[in-house]
């Protein structure tokens, strides 16, 4: 079986909701059935074959070629399948994904991996705001799995993060780790203002000294035993995080946000 490949024929005029093309919804469908699926694009409904050339037959291994930032909800609630996006992805990439793998060769939009439950999501480029966050009004963001961003991330990374790991090789925007309940966010580049704003628990692991709010208290420098284990878990990743030379176990520890319960921590490489 070869990967089911959707090649975008032309740039769509409006944003397109690709959630009907999630692999778990395509199981057992023929190419003709898939071609006939209607996708919402603005007010219009477009057949899949109007937008894409379809090849291959493995519905659990999907490739989206010539992808653009207008393709939203790619891999919604993904279960035990693989999606490769060649190009950019729109908003809500991998929203609520339960397991499996999504890889994007370009950039992704807002709310990537929002409310993700498990699995692995990798974005080679940059990503928009609210990476791994909760939808507006919801109290729980990403609950498990791993996100790797090789570029930069926007604002509010891991807003309401509950569990799981977000790895950012580049920079993160303002409010990184805001309202975190738990989980781990690691940023190799720089972070913006209001880091860990209202975080309750969880770990922000930084390579560069942040601009911390007054509600984070210095707990001193420490050697932490869990860090080698954490870094060892990154070894299989295709990432700078897998490089043993970037690992460390000496950190400056800041506790916060003291305006909340203050059980969170910002660990900065020493």
């Amino acid at each position: 079986m070869s990967a089911l490949t959707f090649s975008l024929k032309t740039q769509p005029a409006q944003r397109v909701d690709l959630s009907p093309l999630a692999p778990q919804l395509l199981q057992g469908l023929s190419i003709a059935d898939i071609a006939a699926i209607e996708l919402q694009s603005g007010k219009a409904k477009l057949r899949v074959d109007e937008l894409f050339t379809i090849e291959g037959d493995d519905t659990q291994n999907i490739i989206i070629q010539n992808s653009t930032a207008k393709l939203d909800f790619i891999g919604k609630e993904l279960e035990n399948a693989t999606i490769t996006v060649e190009g950019d992805a729109g908003a809500y990439l991998g929203i609520g994904m339960k397991s499996g793998t999504i890889k994007v060769t370009g950039n992704a939009g807002l709310y990537a991996a929002c409310e993700m439950k498990n699995g692995y999501l990798e974005i080679a480029g940059n990503t928009g705001d609210f990476l791994g966050a909760a939808l507006p009004g919801n109290k729980m963001g990403m609950k498990g799995g791993t996100i790797l961003i090789k570029g930069n991330a926007g604002e509010r990374v891991g807003d309401h993060l509950r569990r799981g790991t977000i790895l950012i090789e580049g920079n993160a925007g303002d409010y990184c780790g805001s309202r975190m309940t738990a989980g781990t966010i690691a940023v190799m580049g720089n972070t913006g203002k209001y880091l860990g704003y209202a975080m309750r628990r969880g770990t922000l692991l930084l390579w560069n000294a942040p601009q911390l709010s007054a509600s984070f208290n210095d707990c001193g420098s420490h050697t932490l035993a869990f860090l080698p284990i954490l870094f060892a878990s990154f070894k299989s990743l295709n990432s700078k995080f897998a490089d043993a030379s970037v690992a460390f176990n000496r950190v400056q520890r800041y506790a916060g946000d003291m305006a909340e319960i203050g059980r969170g921590e910002v660990l900065v490489k020493l």
Partner: protein, 298 residues
């Protein structure tokens, strides 16, 4: 059967099903990992009164431990899952949590999980932090020397306890020397522990006693000073008997440990005062696992 002048009795060791687990203790260096391990496996010679049988399986190099530090692998055996969990938790809490620089990790995988750091976390009084890494949950518990890192659970497996053999010698020093040689060889075998002091027990027991409150008492048939006073199992030339008890994960593990142990004793042979190898059993009615000495040495 006679090996190097040592008679191997046509008898068998009788062993029982137990529940077992393994934990890995690491520390800043081997010295402190060993101190924690010795404390954790102390007072754990026999389930008769200790609640469990525990021992050090082996020393681990930094490349064999989860956190890349020096470590020691310990195994704990108990008669049931509940008592195993209780013993593991109290020993981990009092002996490993308290030992400077230590960390504690699961040493065996199984579908049945028992708490390792899962309940010790409450020592953190709300400051404890959970980290789930590669599917395993760890607890970071703030302590006065830094942070105590403990994996939440370890596995519980079915195991066998009570494999044994007796070394019968013409003098006490010769019996001990033979047992020391046996233990040195047996410590190289994985998945087994010899829970008694130094691996050797000088007070082997029989079931029951003339005193109603005791369920075990001295194995008078093998006591050399009672050769003329009881129904003895000893010939006149035997002056000292020592026993090695083995707990292991599988019958094959215990077989292997018994084989290398008995072989080490026999290598010393009759020239060094070793006369017989025997084993303790209860007539085969109590324990489902029988380790026939002559089959093992065949």
């Amino acid at each position: 059967m006679i090996i190097n002048g040592v008679t191997i009795d046509a008898t068998f060791a009788e062993a029982f099903p137990m529940k077992a687990t393994r934990a890995i203790i690491t520390a800043q260096n081997e010295k402190w990992a060993m101190i924690a391990a010795q404390a954790m496996t102390g007072f754990a010679t026999s389930v008769i009164a200790c609640g469990c049988e525990a021992g050090i399986e082996r020393i681990l190099g930094p490349n064999e431990t989860p956190d890349g530090r020096a470590g020691v692998s310990v195994m704990v055996f108990a008669m049931g899952g509940k008592s195993l969990a209780k013993q593991l938790e109290t020993r981990a809490g009092q002996c490993v949590l308290t030992a400077p620089t230590s960390a504690l990790f699961a040493g065996i995988q199984s579908d049945i999980k028992i708490p390792l750091g899962k309940n010790l976390r409450y020592f953190g009084d709300g400051f404890q932090i959970a980290k789930k890494i590669s599917g395993k949950r760890y607890w970071r518990i703030p302590v006065m020397d830094g942070e105590f890192l403990a994996e939440a659970t370890t596995g519980q497996v079915n195991a066998i306890g009570g494999g044994n053999f007796l070394v019968l010698a013409t003098s006490q020093p010769q019996a001990l020397a033979a047992c020391e040689a046996a233990i040195e060889a047996m410590r190289k075998i994985p998945n087994v522990i010899m829970p008694f002091p130094g691996g050797v027990v000088r007070s082997g027991s029989k079931v029951g006693s003339k005193y109603k409150t005791l369920n075990a008492s001295t194995n008078d048939a093998f006591c050399p000073t009672l050769k003329g006073a009881t129904k003895t199992d000893l010939s006149p030339d035997i002056e000292s008997v020592m026993e090695i008890v083995i707990d292991g994960l599988t019958k094959e593990d215990i077989d292997k440990a018994m084989r290398v142990g008995i072989q080490a004793v026999c290598d010393l042979g009759a020239d060094n005062g070793i006369r017989r190898i025997s084993a303790g059993n209860y007539g085969g009615k109590l324990g489902p696992f029988h380790f026939h000495l002559q089959e093992i040495m065949a």
